[in-house]
């Protein structure tokens, strides 16, 4: 890991090591849970799932956390810690431009950690609880995270973030926070800073162009999700405030207009480059009252898209991003199974929530 929140170890573009990194990633992809394992997990109790995980890739985390947590909490914290270990390792063995490309995607965990600290400070939670909820898979180093954990007020957190990629954004949003006394401006500033750096100063190249398309799709999907959420909420909010630049689907002003008319919004998505892939989920969205199935479909489309890119350019950032998404999905799937079993959901209901390729 490197300088807090920045790409200090990105080095020169020429010093990338995609062959080495993709070989390591292939090995890690090989140990991801497959369909059969999910089928087994769905039929297990949370305790059995933890036991199963102890005999798998998650052994180290389950053993380390077993004395502090139990049940589904143990599973969830072990999943998060395992995710952090793998993604941290990716940053550890990537070099040069590849490091920068991976880091800019993994900084979403830095954003997550910053938001967790804000929420912890805001609610006077003790720093140990905040630390437990962090996922150390981003670029922030331990010293910075410790300084964030030591912050006693929201203002202190903003001060600690000075010099990181979130510094300017949270500093600008701090005034709004003081006025509104809610974390919304700060959280949105953190997320916006993350999305803005995703596409910022991307180098050129065939594989990187595809990576850019993937990131644009992710931003488009995030805008679509937020537009639909705003449209459904009926709240008097300016949709433009929640628009993320960088997508290709619509502009901020178009989003503002489309939020007022859900039918037009759906029609716009149908006509877009994502129309074919999202046709079925959009039909379901129009028929049902819930956005959840549609969000799940978007996640599935993005996952398939990244996997497809990885196959097209096997020695580039693409298979690494595909692996990151697949690993995240594995964590989400196992957590969904464990929480679903804990809540007494049926096997069919749990299987319906899983996204498996």
């Amino acid at each position: 890991m490197s300088t807090p929140g920045m790409n200090a170890s990105s080095g020169s573009p020429g010093s990338s090591n995609p062959e080495y990194v993709t070989a390591r990633v292939r090995a890690r992809r090989g140990v991801l849970f497959d369909d059969d394992e999910y089928s087994k997990l769905v039929r297990m109790s949370p305790a059995e799932i933890a036991r199963y995980m102890e005999e798998s890739e998650y052994e180290q985390e389950i053993n380390a956390l077993g004395s502090r947590h139990s049940g589904v909490d143990l599973i969830e914290y072990a999943l998060n810690r395992n995710l952090a270990r793998h993604f941290d390792a990716l940053l550890g063995f990537a070099e040069g431009q590849l490091y920068d490309l991976i880091a800019r995607y993994l900084r979403k965990f830095d954003a997550w950690n910053v938001k967790t600290v804000f929420r912890g400070v805001y609610t006077d939670a003790d720093s140990e609880a905040v630390e437990t909820d962090m996922i150390r898979a981003g670029e922030f180093d331990d010293a910075l995270i410790n300084r964030l954990l030591e912050a006693g007020t929201v203002e202190d957190v903003v001060t600690v973030l000075d010099g990181t990629m979130f510094g300017d954004a949270v500093d600008a949003a701090f005034e709004d926070f003081q006025e509104s006394e809610t974390l919304v401006p700060l959280e949105n500033a953190v997320d916006r800073a993350f999305y803005e750096q995703l596409l910022g100063t991307l180098p050129s190249g065939e594989a990187i162009d595809l990576y850019r398309e993937f990131l644009e799709a992710e931003i488009d999907f995030r805008n679509v999700r937020n537009a639909l959420r705003l449209a459904r909420s009926g709240a008097e909010i300016d949709p433009g405030e929640y628009f993320i630049d960088g997508g290709r689907l619509f502009s901020a002003s178009e989003m503002t207009t489309l939020v007022e008319n859900t039918d037009e919004l759906v029609a716009r998505i149908r006509e877009s480059r994502y129309g074919t892939k999202l046709s079925e989920p959009l039909d379901e969205l129009e028929a049902a009252d819930s956005l959840i199935d549609f969000e799940r479909a978007l996640e599935g489309v993005l996952l398939r898209y990244s996997k497809q890119l990885g196959n097209v350019h096997p020695l580039s950032i693409c298979p690494v991003v595909a692996y990151i998404l697949m690993k995240e999905r594995e964590v989400t799937n196992i957590r969904a199974i464990a929480r679903g079993r804990e809540a007494g959901l049926s096997e069919t209901a749990i299987e319906q929530e899983l996204v498996i390729l």
């Binding site: 938001k115 959280e187 995030r222 909010i237 959840i292 929480r339 809540a343 959901l345």
Partner: protein, 235 residues
């Protein structure tokens, strides 16, 4: 009890007054009880509907929360919940239903728009929105259920109290008063009869005495006459 009452006219009048008052009170309480029962039946229907809604809303909210925790993670859901600044508030006023004071609960800031929930929109999902929506809905139903069920319990207590009062009047107080009234009336009649009988007896005795006195006077007169006749003969 009747034996404890002095059978006087004053007491009889007092008892008659109490009977009149108690009968009036009994009628009024019976009307109140019937009215309360009618109001209670309305509230009971409402309470049953609210209770059904409450069960449904709770199940929905719990299911959505479980789904949010499953798909977004417990940490994300807790974090979103922690971001809430403005907590719901309730104000309690009271209203009067047939003399029973029942609460009227007004809630504010329960339903929130996306930007009032405190968590950032850009980094959250519809699952968290739907869980929050469902819990806001549940909270509103809980507040309504609290109002209706408290009113129902208070009405029930009042109905019980009124029923006990009606029964106490109908089966204890009024029968006792009627018994006392009857006892005093009987005693007074008896006393009256005794008085008449006594008067008659006195009258009879008086007449007898007068008759005896008259007879004695007559006898004395006759004896005097006889003595006078004897003196005249001697002379």
């Amino acid at each position: 009890m009747a034996e404890d009452v002095k059978p006087t006219r004053k007491n009889l009048m007092a008892i008659e007054d109490r009977i009149e008052l108690s009968e009036r009170g009994h009628d009024t309480l019976e009307q109140k009880r019937d009215g309360l029962i009618m109001e209670f039946m309305d509230i009971l229907d409402q309470a049953q509907d609210v209770r059904n809604d409450l069960n449904e809303d709770y199940e929905t909210a719990q299911r959505k929360l479980n789904m949010a925790r499953a798909m977004e993670g417990d940490v994300a859901v807790r974090g979103a919940a922690a971001a809430l600044k403005e907590h719901p508030e309730i104000t309690i006023q009271s209203k009067n239903i047939m003399g029973v004071v029942v609460p009227q609960i007004e809630s504010s800031k329960v339903k929130k728009s996306l930007d009032e929930r405190g968590y950032g929109l850009l980094g959250s999902s519809a699952r968290i929105d739907e869980a929050a929506d469902a819990y806001e809905e549940l909270l509103e139903t809980i507040i309504l259920a609290a109002e209706v069920e408290t009113a129902m319990k208070k009405m029930l207590t009042e109905i019980e109290t009124t029923k006990r009062r009606v029964n106490a009047l109908e089966f204890k107080l009024l029968p006792d008063l009627y018994t006392n009234q009857e006892y005093i009336e009987q005693k007074l009649e008896e006393q009256e009869r005794e008085e008449i009988f006594r008067m008659k007896k006195i009258k009879e005795k008086k007449e007898e005495a007068e008759a005896e006195e008259a007879a004695a006077a007559e006898a004395a007169a006759e004896a005097a006459d006889a003595d006078a006749d004897a003196v005249a003969v001697d002379e």
